[in-house]
């Protein structure tokens, strides 16, 4: 029997008395990429933290690659949101990527990383089209380039799942297109899970999207034509509009309370 890649069963979570997620259940098969969408405060980030084992559910079980999230961490590549790291920190591109190889049980005392790790870092940078940029200072890169470096860092552990938290939040449209090309090609090698506010990007990742608003519900893609027209009219990106999204398709089970 094929093991589900992600199996979330009746998961609830509350910060203190505030319930953020309520009986969330879904499962994902190997190689199935998808976007995590939903309004702000709907619980997307919380779900992400639960999948990464940074938070523990107050109810229910989560299994990632057949293991607990904590044990599966090594096989999940994580690309954090823009504000979570220090963009002015004095490191080079290679320094950042190599930090992806950091492990609890392995020491890499100053000054050198092993040859194998340095080669793997070069390979990761090739995967995100940044070959030859190893020596550039990270703080002088553009927003889009930084995102790719962070993707390369996440690829250092050769993960089976790549989790990205709003990777396009801080980049312009042209850069966004490049970033999405990179992610599209990575989808062939691993499961890509992307949290996004940008409805225009949803159809590019997988064949369905998971909408999280206290509960979770799958939306089959492509989204209805009028919806897409909405998104592309004027070539502008639009923020996720709950009303628009739920005006089409079957959302009987998608409770937004």
């Amino acid at each position: 029997m094929m093991e589900a890649l992600l199996a979330v069963e009746g998961v609830s979570f509350a910060y203190g008395r505030e319930r953020v997620l309520r009986e969330v259940s879904f499962s994902v098969n190997e190689q199935e990429s998808f976007c995590l969408i939903g309004p702000n405060g709907g619980g997307k980030s919380t779900l992400l933290k639960l999948l990464l084992g940074m938070l523990k559910p107050s109810d229910g079980t989560i299994s990632v690659l057949g293991k607990s999230p904590l044990k599966a961490r090594r096989e999940i590549g994580y690309v954090p949101q823009f504000m979570h790291y220090d963009p002015h920190f004095p490191v080079t591109v290679a320094d950042v990527v190599l930090l992806g190889a950091l492990e609890k049980s392995h020491f890499h005392p100053f000054p050198r990383w092993s040859r194998e790790l340095r080669e793997r870092a070069q390979h990761s940078l090739r995967q995100v089209d940044l070959a030859g940029c190893e020596r550039l200072p990270f703080r002088e890169l553009s927003g889009g380039q930084r995102q790719r470096v962070l993707i390369a860092r996440a690829l250092m552990t050769q993960p089976r799942i790549l989790l990205l938290d709003e990777p396009t939040a801080n980049v312009d449209l042209a850069v966004e297109t490049q970033l999405m090309d990179t992610l599209t090609s990575l989808q062939e090698q691993m499961t890509v899970i992307m949290v996004t506010h940008d409805m225009g990007l949803v159809p590019q990742i997988g064949s369905r999207a998971l909408c999280v608003n206290r509960r979770a519900h799958w939306h089959e893609l492509p989204l209805a034509p009028e919806m897409i027209q909405d998104i592309y009219s004027g070539g502008q990106r639009i923020e996720h509009n709950e009303a628009t999204l739920h005006s089409q398709g079957d959302h009987s089970a998608c409770s937004h309370d």
């Binding site: 990464l52 930090l99 890499h108 200072p137």
Partner: protein, 280 residues
Amino acid sequence: MTEFLESVRLNPALQYALIAGIIACVPFGVVGSFLVVRRIGYIAAAIAHSILGGIGAAIYFSRSYEAMAWFTPLLGATLAALLSALLIGFVSLRFREREDTLIGAIWATGMAAGLLFLHKAPGTGVSLESFLFGDILLTSRSDVWVTAIASALILLVVVLFYPRLIAVCFDPEFSDLRGVSSTRYYLLLLVLTAIAMVLLVRLAGIVLSLALLILPAATAARVFQRMTPIILGASFLSFAYLLVCFPLSYHQDLPTGPVIVVAASLVYGLTLLVTRRRGA
């Protein structure tokens, strides 16, 4: 210069101060660089001021009670520095919004406790000025040993955990995900800061200590783009300031600490003008 060298030859305190200063350049460069890139210089300042509390307590208790003669000012300073470092670290990680209040409280309470203890300490009066501004003519052979051991300890820890310290300073969340506890290594960094401050307060006094740690590193951080060159640059600058300002201050009959701080500020200001880059 010959005159200075002759004085150094004849005056052991000058020799000790010079040797201790030279030894400490590298660990100060290391700790200063981490403080600058992590932007937590103000924590080091609070630690420095809390040290007076520890020194005061040690002098008071060791003079008041014979059984407590083992409680030396160095021990008091180290305990106070470690305690305040861990306290600030814990609060800044758990209750971020209260961090500045706590830092202010530790800063002032450390000084106040120190003044009270020193006021009530039996025996001849203690020169408060030497704690506040340092007095290199009081440097002894044991200071050299303490500096050497503490410097070796700081360097050993940083060499062993270098990539981890960089990782938790750059992106603590990601470090946690990789199983490298950002809390633990942040506290380790503060402990190293506490040790460096104890050394620096002994050599240069409380008031000037922070500038001596921060200015060379901040200057290097304007010029270089990676941690290792920043650390080496900061260490080299500290060494250069010492080598230039020590004889200069001696020759002009000026206190050494302030001469170094003024020189370091001037170089930092010039660097700011020359390198108008973002960051650091």
